[in-house]
Symmetry: C2
Amino acid sequence: MSLKHAVLGLLSESPASGYDLMKLFNASLTNVWPATQSQVYGELGKLTAAGLAEVSAHGPRGRKEYAITREGIAELQHWLAEVPPGGPHRDESLLRVFFLGVLTPLEARTFLLGRAEETARLHAELRRVDEETQWDDDMISVYGRLTLEYGLRMTAAQEEWARWAAEQIDSAKVREASDRVRSRHGLGTGDGPAATARDDGPDDAPAPTA
Amino acid sequence: MSLKHAVLGLLSESPASGYDLMKLFNASLTNVWPATQSQVYGELGKLTAAGLAEVSAHGPRGRKEYAITREGIAELQHWLAEVPPGGPHRDESLLRVFFLGVLTPLEARTFLLGRAEETARLHAELRRVDEETQWDDDMISVYGRLTLEYGLRMTAAQEEWARWAAEQIDSAKVREASDRVRSRHGLGTGDGPAATARDDGPDDAPAPTA
DNA sequence: ACCCGACGTGTCAAGAGTGGAATGTGGGAG
DNA sequence: CTCCCACATTCCACTCTTGACACGTCGGGT
């Protein structure tokens, strides 16, 4: 339901063609609300039909420049101020964590550390954007800055958590529990994907403490 | 693509009927990967057709108990260990922040503080769950605990951010920028949704510092 | 003069997710 | 014994999202 508002929001900054909007999506909204061509063009059509946007100019190669209408602004404001945000976050990474017990503790640990590095990478990327952008005082800049800061804080917290979680796994209890589950399914050497997962002997040896 | 793995993951813990799975989804995965009846039952069908799950028992009222198969386990492991996580987060709240400039600074500030409270509420709820749960050492407990900790950390960071962001808005520059954008669209008293949004005089008076 | 790369629009198929409704049965409370 | 609620499945119609494909055109560099 929110692609509509994303497009309206971008149009509220300045008129744009579908092509322009795609660039904007890829530039500023990639990590917030990704969208594809088909979606954008489709949405522009619906928006126009609904009277929330209109074609404000025709350009060179069939280019249609869309502008937000008064009704569009109203709808945007309505959405921002009155519609209760209720997006149930789906988090694939987290879903994986939940079932990490199906892997060996070693594999699980590796996964978490991988997550940590990935998050760190994203964090660095965001920091780079932050530093390279010259923040002036238009709407996109001001609130874009807030959005970016959010990203910075979240990625930082995520990395911290992932490293902490990896440590948690280095515990005898966890290893026992995992073994129990795995043996319940008759898992041992075979079957599994990465042959890294082997149970060559009791897990008494201390886990490699990186 | 991940509902499939969510179902497989739950089945890997113990066999269950579609009805059971729904309860599990609502109990433990609501904030990670929400799902509806139609989805779950549909997925069970596909899973069975694909040989990743099978009907392991028939119960009282047409009840079909599903169990994960060896292939299912393998697929789950494969997904966990080898498929690179790439979920592009969509965050509706964040999208709103990006366009908050369409509202008055006061409204924007209110929105952010509302977010802060909402997050705080969720945080408290998670803490409650954490304390009330008796964490033993099976897979769901151990990794569920990690997942929960993630939620606790994220909600904490989000609330902090929201309060910080609300403060940021109390700045002359932001107010000017917002006014500029709003006037560009000829906004004043009318039109807008919440009549709270009024520009009765210059915004020189300090914003109410909660 | 020509050609390639950027501009620019559009359609389609398929899968994911939402929300609601229809249908039926078993078992326990009263 | 009866009735109602929890159990349990299935179908439907819709929107959102993805990914690819198809098509046409302006403009500048060689």
